[in-house]
């Protein structure tokens, strides 16, 4: 044990370098910078926005429309000319991104329920969502005004029936059933809310797996590149201890780095995504609780176990790949297959339902050990415990097989003779 701890200490010291600190600090700074920039842009978008208005109508209704726009944080700026083309040219020369043209006779036509079109001209100076937000709000304002005008008309014409009842005679109440629990709510809203709450799980998982794997694969490749591996293999410590020390050290440093990254990420972008805690106790929070779709402490522990086994599999796989690498540069290339193995279930878990996949695709997905932790949250919430247990056992079996292979490689000549030569593209043994 003393020898193992000595080796572990050295492995950790080798991994915690100035480059690692600089890389961590730089990434956190980058997160902070992007986060602040986005926050500023969002604030800007929420501020009062100028809108150029060519009002050729001047009726009470058009004045009401401008009033509604003021309530929606717009400041209407009258265009000096009375011609649409000139108004476009005038707006182009300003920083205003939106021109609203209210045609003559607008109020009168609307009163008579003759469709009269108002025109909006968006000056697309950027492709960001924030940049095109103005026209979206105008459409929402127009929709609300349409509602108001039609409701007002209906109230006057048919006072005995409410406009809402008249326009929507069929109403629906939506219920969602999860296993044997039921609650009132729209399925898409609940699904959206649950996925927004667990969006961090795959990101954390992917970061830890990739980070820790990169550490171990590089650690082995560096031993080869710096010609220290031969000496290490002749000291009185078992080969299994050498492999284990590298894996444990990489897991510890990888985990710490990933946690630091995630704190930086959460701190920088968290406020933009909405605070989860704010929803607790709200209407949606109540529905989620009622449906049992909130993660419990037990759930988080099981998710942690699943994540732990995924990391072990990744480390064992990276150890084998590390042996194949001749130097650090080769190690960086060899990490790619592992990244793909993590990325495939990551994207599949985001964009598809594993149950709806074809059989070959399903087999492919479940054969990748990293798919299981990605699906754990969903399976836990839907109480598919069998799938969770199967996933953990599968990863455990996968890890045992890989660690046996890794230990065998380390206890034979292959640790020194096995390598992939990228220049010649062939396996030399």
């Amino acid at each position: 044990m003393k020898k193992f701890l000595n080796l572990l200490q050295k492995e950790i010291r080798e991994l915690i370098t100035m480059q690692l600190f600089i890389s961590l600090l730089f990434t956190i700074f980058l997160f902070y910078f992007i986060g602040q920039m986005l926050k500023t842009e969002m604030k800007k978008a929420m501020r009062v926005q100028e809108i150029a208005v060519l009002n050729l109508d001047d009726s009470a209704l058009s004045q009401n429309l401008l009033g509604a726009l003021r309530s929606a944080n717009f400041e209407p700026k009258p265009v000096p000319d009375r011609d649409t083309q000139k108004a476009i040219q005038w707006t182009k020369g300003t920083n205003i991104n939106l021109l609203l043209v209210i045609p003559p006779g607008f109020g009168e036509s609307v009163e008579k329920f003759e469709n009269k079109q108002i025109e909006t001209y968006s000056f697309l100076r950027t492709f960001s969502i924030v940049g095109s937000r103005g026209s979206v709000i105008i459409n929402a304002v127009i929709k609300a005004m349409n509602e108001f005008i039609s409701n007002d008309y209906l109230k006057r014409k048919i006072p005995e029936i409410g406009p809402e009842q008249l326009k929507n005679p069929i109403k629906s109440r939506d219920f969602v059933i999860v296993k044997d629990r039921m609650a009132e709510g729209a399925a898409e809203k609940i699904a959206g809310f649950v996925s927004s709450q667990s969006i961090f799980v795959p990101i954390i998982l992917m970061m830890i797996i990739i980070y820790a794997s990169q550490m171990v694969i590089s650690a082995i490749a560096m031993e080869k590149q710096n010609k220290t591996l031969e000496t290490l293999l002749t000291v009185p410590i078992s080969r299994t201890s050498i492999v284990t020390a590298k894996m444990v050290a990489s897991a510890v440093v990888g985990l710490i780095s990933a946690v630091i990254y995630m704190i930086g990420y959460r701190y920088s972008f968290g406020s933009l995504m909405g605070d989860v805690s704010r929803t607790v106790g709200s209407g949606m929070g109540g529905v989620i609780q009622k449906l049992g779709l909130a993660m419990t402490t037990k759930g988080y522990i099981i998710l942690g176990i699943s994540l732990f086994f995924a990391i072990l599999v990744a480390l064992a796989l990276a150890t084998i790949l590390g042996v194949l690498a001749e130097d650090f540069r080769a190690a960086q290339s060899l990490i790619m297959p592992l990244i793909f193995l993590v990325m495939i279930p990551y994207f599949l878990s985001f964009f598809s339902d594993p149950k709806s996949l074809s059989l070959p695709m399903k087999i492919f997905l479940y054969a990748i050990p990293f798919s299981h932790p990605f699906l754990t949250t969903q399976n836990l919430l839907l109480e598919n415990y069998q799938a969770v247990v199967f996933g953990i056992l599968y990863m455990l079996a996968f890890f045992i097989v890989l660690i046996i292979i890794a230990a065998r490689i380390f206890s034979t000549d292959r640790v020194l003779t096995m390598k992939l030569r990228f220049g010649k593209k062939k396996l030399v043994i």
């Binding site: 000595n6 050295k10 031969e230």
Partner: protein
């Protein structure tokens, strides 16, 4: 002289390539035994097998009565190997590297300190030991590694081209150190293609080429046998 290392009919294949074709030799206690030969002769393969890095395809290697195939861990406890192109951990200070290596062999903290002090004396790097080994020259790294290899007073020191990359003065110092330790009872198995160095250092020599030992004996008997002035001439004669 009783043998600490006995190698019998050692063979090694790399796929279809026969790197060692059944070589046999022994190393006595406190003896410096050298394998000499050109590049690719099989010297490093033989040393790597004795150092437990490679497994033999056939033949027997026993060290202090332990069988290499059955008890490689017993070998590792009592040998020390200096590979030809070895390096140290670049992010560790020289002194930390020695401490790290010493802890694998020492039974106590006191013994660890003894090992480190001995390594400091051998390496003779002064205050540079407090700097990261990544800043060392090739010669300094070699001396640090030699200090590491000999600090534990192993039963058998396996030195592959011990003066590789060293200047004349440093090479002379290293040879003196190896001789001194052998006089103190450490057995040495070394390889080199520098015949003059071997003649100065070795008690006995085996000439190896294409995986076969051509001839072996003390430098003097070999010179007499081949009517040669030095080992280079002996080697040329043995090749014919």
């Amino acid at each position: 002289m009783d043998s600490v290392l006995v190698v019998e009919g050692l063979q090694k294949y790399y796929g279809g390539l026969e790197a060692l074709k059944g070589i046999s030799f022994t190393v006595g206690r406190g003896e410096i035994f050298a394998l000499i030969g050109p590049n690719g002769a099989g010297k490093t393969t033989a040393l790597r097998i004795v150092a437990t890095l490679l497994s033999p395809s056939d033949g027997k290697v026993s060290f202090l009565g332990f069988d290499l195939k059955k008890q490689p861990e017993k070998f590792r406890e009592k040998i020390s190997y200096l590979p030809e192109e070895a390096g140290a951990y670049k992010n560790l200070k020289g002194i930390d590297y020695l401490k790290f290596m010493a802890k694998f062999y020492a039974e106590s903290e006191k013994e660890t300190q003894e090992f480190i002090e001995r390594a400091k004396e051998i390496a003779d790097l002064g205050t540079r030991l407090n700097e990261k080994s990544g800043t060392y020259s090739k010669g300094m790294t070699r001396k640090l590694l030699l200090g590491r290899a000999l600090m534990t007073r192993p039963e058998l020191a396996i030195l592959d081209e011990p003066t590789s990359g060293l200047d004349v003065i440093n090479a002379l110092e290293v040879r003196e150190i190896v001789k001194r330790f052998a006089r103190e009872g450490i057995s040495v198995l070394l390889s080199s293609h520098n015949m003059l160095e071997i003649e100065f250092l070795s008690d006995r020599v085996a000439m190896i080429d294409k995986g076969k030992i051509l001839d072996s004996g003390t430098p003097e008997t070999l010179k007499d046998k081949h009517h040669a002035k030095n080992l280079e001439e002996v080697f040329r004669s043995a090749l014919q």
